[in-house]
């Protein structure tokens, strides 16, 4: 299925502000694999994912075709 990923904050330097349509198997493992592949670095544990504008907490929540995921690197401070 296709979902949309939009990178925010520091990650927008690489990806810009345009959402990216990606094809994944509808589970969170596949989503994270895709995110890491896009970010492209070996140490990518620090990003946070929002689903449809809200924090992604419940991993039993089903991924549906057309869902939007925001991905950002959570800084503290500023």
């Amino acid at each position: 299925m296709f979902v949309t990923i939009k990178f925010l904050g520091v990650l927008s330097l690489k990806f810009g502000s345009t959402p990216i349509a990606v094809e994944i198997v509808p589970n969170y493992e596949s989503l994270h694999t895709k995110i890491k592949e896009l970010i492209g670095e070996k140490d990518t544990t620090r990003y946070v994912v929002l689903k449809n504008g809200k924090p992604l907490i419940d991993l039993s929540d089903v991924i549906r075709d057309g869902d939007t995921f925001f991905v950002f690197f959570p800084i503290s401070g500023g």
């Binding site: 520091v10 929002l50 924090p55 950002f72 503290s76 500023g78």
Partner: protein
């Protein structure tokens, strides 16, 4: 004596011109380490109880840490500590820039200043020596003029100057201190304390050699950090966009403080998203030896003097959306005035936002404001008011007192929407979507602070970053929820951030998401000093600082009632967007506050227990 340190502390009494150089024992350095912990120690032991913070007996301490001055990203900071004119409790504030390394190279780890000079003076500190010099000719000048005058007078353009502008001289409650014109000890009114002592500036120049235990490690350590900024997308992005990256996240979540905290959303925020700044007027700037370069410099416009630096996120939030302003040049101009006059842009923005709501509700009239139309969005009025505030002219004299005093003067319904804790206005992060900040803002000893703990977003989804798992946080939590796990997030990371301020390094290079983590911090302290420390000892020192601050406040009469949040956060839901309806839940707040007290070794009034003070070797404290 440990390496890395200068081994000397300068003590100056401005009332009688007495200058003394002390050499504390190594055991003192080991117990309190440096930076803000030094400052808090001297505040607790030397400031008399219950004095007015603007009294000459207030003691102001400038202090650096064990690795300050090493050519490492983030090792260029110093703390300033005193009794705060803004809160009446402990005040402590950090700055980056270039001054701190120069003080270390001039041969001092700290300067302790008491008394009041009979007329304006500045201090001149150079290679182990100190003088008190006349500053009458530069009193009243803006910071660029006074910096140039001092360098010319002393004949060295490499002198580093930390100073106050007119706001400090005029005792604006939230006056700050600036070095290199664009680096600030921003919060808690430390600039007013300097002003109350007739102390205009401290000029330093140092060429003494720095001695490290393992200089080869230090060199390699610096290269590792620099390489990460050069090659990793997150740090490249942070360098390019600075702390304004916060805007992107908060815009998406509709939690950017708007119009005196009435809402988390307003029209036009797209204009000030992070990339829109760097596309036009802002480019990276930096501190001494720092590759991360998250400071902002202004270019491509002649509407301001670029030497005063550009707005970072806090100014964009509190002098931007909080005032209904989303024009980049307007925010840049407001930032410049705050910089020139040395005013905390967070507290200025917070106070003006409050005044704007009062004006729109008819609680302040055009007559009260001296003709200024203080509607949200009127940037021209804000710029004029900023200058008036720095000079304490007209309505600016009242704005200079801050939200708390303004609200008390207006009274009645005006009290209901005053947003401050202990008299200190909020930074631009909303506890509505970063729930643990409800605890941080309420309980931090020096008033609401956004760099005393890690934000909730850091544990918002699995996998939790290893840096936080190492502090015992390993389960994703809803950032909007204020639950027991958030108490742990606050407490565990509060101690870590306290360590950062004690070592006097930058939380934007050493921390939970940064180029260096806490293992790195331990290693570089050992490489600099040879002290063979470990994280357990360092966290204990950090906790010592926290408990000493609470003891200072307890001595001044603070209780649990002072660890509270404004009514607006509990009773007035945010309006609009995905954050519509959000509040801080009062019951959750009271319950988690009580739990925090227990974990932190505080009694029911939020004051340190004897047991916790004994555990930390602070049983000498009485309050």
């Amino acid at each position: 004596m440990l390496k890395g340190y200068a081994g000397k502390i300068l003590r100056i009494n401005l009332s009688n011109n007495n200058i003394v150089i002390e050499e504390p024992k190594e055991s003192f350095y080991r117990k309190y380490l440096g930076g803000s912990c030094f400052g808090v120690y001297f505040a607790l032991t030397e400031i008399p109880k219950n004095i007015n913070p603007l009294n000459p007996e207030n003691v102001i301490t400038f202090a650096v840490g064990p690795i300050t001055g090493a050519p490492i990203s983030g090792a260029a900071r110093h703390s300033v500590t005193a009794k705060s004119p803004q809160t009446g409790g402990i005040g402590t504030s950090e700055a980056g820039g270039y001054w701190a390394p120069e003080l270390k190279k001039a041969g001092f780890d700290a300067i302790i200043i008491t008394g009041k000079a009979p007329k304006p003076v500045y201090l001149w500190i150079h290679n182990g020596q100190a003088e008190i010099r006349d500053a009458s000719h530069i009193w009243g000048t803006l910071t660029k003029e006074s910096e140039q005058a001092i360098r010319t007078e002393l004949g060295d353009k490499n002198i580093r100057v930390t100073q106050i502008g007119p706001a400090g001289e005029n005792l604006v409650k939230y006056a700050c201190i600036s070095n290199e014109l664009a680096h600030f000890n921003g919060r808690t009114g430390m600039g007013a304390v300097m002003g109350s002592k007739n102390l205009k500036a401290i000029a330093v120049r140092g060429t003494l050699p720095m001695e490290y235990e393992d200089p080869a490690y230090i060199k390699e350590f610096a290269k590792t950090g620099n390489e990460k900024v050069r090659t990793q997308v997150a740090y490249q992005g942070f360098k390019a966009l600075g702390t304004n990256v916060n805007i992107d996240e908060l815009y998406t979540l509709n939690c950017i403080p708007s119009k005196n905290w009435q809402s988390g959303i307003m029209d036009g925020v797209e204009n000030i998203l992070a990339a829109n700044w760097t596309d036009s007027y802002i480019k990276p700037g930096t501190c001494y030896a720092c590759a991360q370069s998250c400071k902002r410099n202004v270019h491509n416009t002649d509407c301001v003097d670029p030497d005063y630096g550009g707005p970072e996120y806090e100014t964009v939030g509190m002098c931007g959306t909080n005032l209904g302003i989303v024009d980049k040049l307007d925010i840049i101009k407001i930032n410049e005035v705050c910089s020139k006059y040395t005013m905390d842009s967070i507290s200025f923005g917070g106070t003006v936002g409050y005044a704007m709501e009062c004006y729109e509700k008819g609680l302040l009239s055009k007559e009260d404001t001296g003709g200024l139309e203080l509607n949200f969005g009127n940037a021209e009025a804000v710029i004029k008011l900023a200058e008036m505030t720095g000079r304490r002219e007209g309505f600016g004299d009242l704005i200079a007192e801050g939200t708390k005093i303004l609200s008390e003067k207006l009274g009645g319904p005006a009290l209901d929407f005053a947003v401050h804790v202990k008299g200190k206005e909020f930074p631009a992060h909303m506890p509505h979507n970063k729930a643990s900040l409800a605890l941080a803002y309420a309980t931090v000893a020096f008033g609401s602070d956004h760099v005393s703990s890690n934000f909730d977003g850091s544990i918002a989804s699995d996998p939790i970053p290893y840096q936080l798992q190492g502090f015992g946080l390993n389960k994703a939590q809803n950032p909007y929820e204020l639950n027991d796990e958030k108490v742990r997030l606050y407490w565990q990371t509060q101690r870590a951030f306290s360590l950062i301020d004690t070592v006097s390094v930058c939380c934007l290079t050493f921390g939970f998401w940064t180029i260096y983590d806490f293992s790195d911090l331990v290693n570089v302290i050992n490489a600099a000093t040879g002290m063979k420390t470990h994280l357990f000892e360092l966290i204990e020192i950090a906790e010592r600082r926290l408990i000493m601050m609470k003891a200072f406040n307890a001595r001044e009469g603070f209780t649990s009632k002072d660890d509270d949040l404004p009514k607006r956060l509990f009773d007035e839901p945010l309006k609009g967007g995905v954050s519509d309806g959000l509040t801080v839940n009062r019951a959750d707040f009271e319950r988690t506050k009580k739990l925090y007290y227990e974990i932190a070794g505080l009694d029911l009034e939020g004051n340190p227990t004897k047991a916790r003070m004994l555990e930390l070797g602070l049983d000498w404290i009485e309050y």
